[in-house]
Symmetry: C2
Amino acid sequence: MVVGTSWETLLPRLHEIADLAGALRLLHWDQAVMMPSAGGASRARSIATLEGLLHERLTAPEVGGLLEELGGDDSLDTDTRAHVRVLARDYAKATKVPPELVKELAELEGLAYQAWTEARPANDFDVLKPHLERMVQLKKEQADALGWQGERYDALLDTYEPEMKTAEVEAMFAELTNGLRPLVEEVVDAAPDTPEFLTRTYEAAKQEAFSQWLVRKLGFDTHGGRLDTSPHPFTAQIAPGDVRQTTKADPKDLMMSIFATIHETGHALYEQGIPERLAGLPAGHAPSLGIHESQSRMWENQVGRSRPFTEFMLPHLKEHFPEELGMLAPDDFYTGANHPRRTLIRVTADELTYNLHVALRFEIEIALFRDELDVADLPDAWDAAMEKHLDVRPESHADGVLQDMHWSIGALGYFPTYTLGNLYAAAFYAKAREDLTDLDADLRRGDGSRLLGWMRDRIHSQAYLKSAKELGEEVLGEPLSARPFLDHVATKFRNLYAGS
Amino acid sequence: MVVGTSWETLLPRLHEIADLAGALRLLHWDQAVMMPSAGGASRARSIATLEGLLHERLTAPEVGGLLEELGGDDSLDTDTRAHVRVLARDYAKATKVPPELVKELAELEGLAYQAWTEARPANDFDVLKPHLERMVQLKKEQADALGWQGERYDALLDTYEPEMKTAEVEAMFAELTNGLRPLVEEVVDAAPDTPEFLTRTYEAAKQEAFSQWLVRKLGFDTHGGRLDTSPHPFTAQIAPGDVRQTTKADPKDLMMSIFATIHETGHALYEQGIPERLAGLPAGHAPSLGIHESQSRMWENQVGRSRPFTEFMLPHLKEHFPEELGMLAPDDFYTGANHPRRTLIRVTADELTYNLHVALRFEIEIALFRDELDVADLPDAWDAAMEKHLDVRPESHADGVLQDMHWSIGALGYFPTYTLGNLYAAAFYAKAREDLTDLDADLRRGDGSRLLGWMRDRIHSQAYLKSAKELGEEVLGEPLSARPFLDHVATKFRNLYAGS
């Protein structure tokens, strides 16, 4: 690392910022996984306090001054330039929004989330409505404070998927939904009823034991991480050398547990692949949520739900559940892992229809921010969009517009990154298959090491040295499109169900 | 709480200090209980960073100014006066020692601890010696910076046992060792060989299950806390509503697990008994380590190792270990839990001889700080003191002067608080028995609720509103002495072994 005085002055500040951010991630992880229930109130205050300190440190005028000096310094090496670029981005985002708006948003997020937890079980959109109206208003102010050129929603999208524009995402969704619609019609109605083994009960402790085995098999390093359970599976890098993932084990849903585990392992393998020299510094993480999600989705869907990998998993799963699965044939397990349906709920949707759930959320979000839709009309817009995309209509708001918490916590512009992740996953995997001959043979014996090596080399090791779009184009040799994903699901689901 | 402008200005600063200190306790708890091994280096840096921030916040000149204003404010209520008094104490300790000395001590502690981890297995005092010489030198400088009136060691003792003086502790140790010497001679040599059931192996998972049951039975509230395992059992209040204790389960040492669990539960019950209105503020904790240890030792020894409580535990323990303990008689279990021996190691010493191990450490420490002993002569001084107090001589430094880590981490003045805890435990328990008729009947059915209520009322609820000495005298009606402890062990061990 080439060092100049400004960089040397900045570095201890960066360490302080990283250590505060890491302590915050531990407070959150512990809250979800370990904390006794009565600790909730004091934990909320501790988190707010440390967030305040982190914000104070990040927005210190000295940081701005050092960034200005370093921005014009041509002698910096590639790594340092990337750190300066990413920190300047974070600094701008943290300083452009007026403190009163930041505070108002934080308070509203608490209130709106609380209202959502009441609105959903009560099936009553009106409980959430006033909070959501205020949220959209404040998010518009936030977008304007952050600044935008094309359209307002760009500023929100940029928070999660830096440099990606609304118009680009819109074009990809158009290609995607146009390609999916006929395929869904062709395949879904031809798929059989839910296989019998998916309706059985599977002891949670045995599911957890299988997950502990599976993450190690997939290459997760438990000297530098751990797997626990939590109500909502997630992955967090606490600090370099300490990556934590969670899964859940619902006795009524064996598949949820297995694929949540593989999904989070994808995130965790990415975090464990960030080079030591970058970890804990501004560019030492993924360049976007979409790129991060590409890794979780690829291991979950392209690998985990493939014919060869399901074939590998089944005998090991049978060791834990000899009575329940003893007689299950590999073909039936594979079919069970890929069982497409027109459903109402995003989080349990299959690989084929999942992105249609995201498409309707994206359409609604841009309509809200283009002033083409009022919050009051959200429930109707939701139901109409469900009919358009999936040909089903929710019988309740709980299973419709109220199903996700995202909007209540101000995560507007977030949903499209799920689909970007799916598209990147299919595109990266297709590219890897070109390079790695007979990858299916690896997967059939549960060996993901060549694939992991490819991802480490091209993606994980790049961290945030380039933007997501630059990285994607470099790896793919062309801009991201929906084509590889459409090819993947068309081949897989036609082979499985077309004409059956 | 009576509020004035200065107090209102100080309060958000106190919350910030409390939240940073709580985050640090979580970082430490997690490091000992959860953290994957590769996270060690980044965790060490995070802890150092947050300690730096905490020190910065605590020593801010504004805090000093506010304390000065509040110190002369007669309108404050009792709670607020206590908070101001405790914070002023912490502020003075944090500001009186020059930053360079703080830094030098922190670095030396790291080096000396590392040297100790090498010196002990190598049985080589010379590896530790230069670090310990420097440590004693720096600790003298620290004591002088903190200030003292009677003698230098007072300043070190005051860190752990506020307001207690060396001369007072010396007098108590004299009374204690004079009383113990004839008793040990009378009893220990009459005790039989190690009971056979203590030499068996007990599955760790079953020991843990028993501990999980036992802590609840003793009144530990698991909605506001949790029990885990760690190599060195400890208890930490992370934040109000979140008290965590750990135990260990060594298949070769059933008793260690049971009594470590009861010991830590004593600490944890204390923390859970701090009133909500005080928790998280300067006076919202125990007034001294000795008072804290009184609660752990009382539940461990006066309750846990009593005839009625061992009688209560045995059938429940047999449910977990029917083969190993099925035939064990209550008398033999009680005897096994109280098996005095002349041993070399403090941490595994029995209730009767334990304080002799502490006495020799205290004597050595005061000799070092009175310039009556050089570090170079420590090994000889140790071996001589072991012969004097326990009539045994270590065959190695590993089992002698190198057995404890305390000195390597700069914890000089800490050891005597273990014995103060034992003396307070016996004195408080004797007092409680005067008030609570037929307490043995409660313990025989495993019901510690009346005893806990008594301790909550007189000790836990007082937190640090008074100094340890004031609190002790108020509860006991007289100053602390070794007499109640000597009466306790004399009665118990004479009944068990004298003349056998």
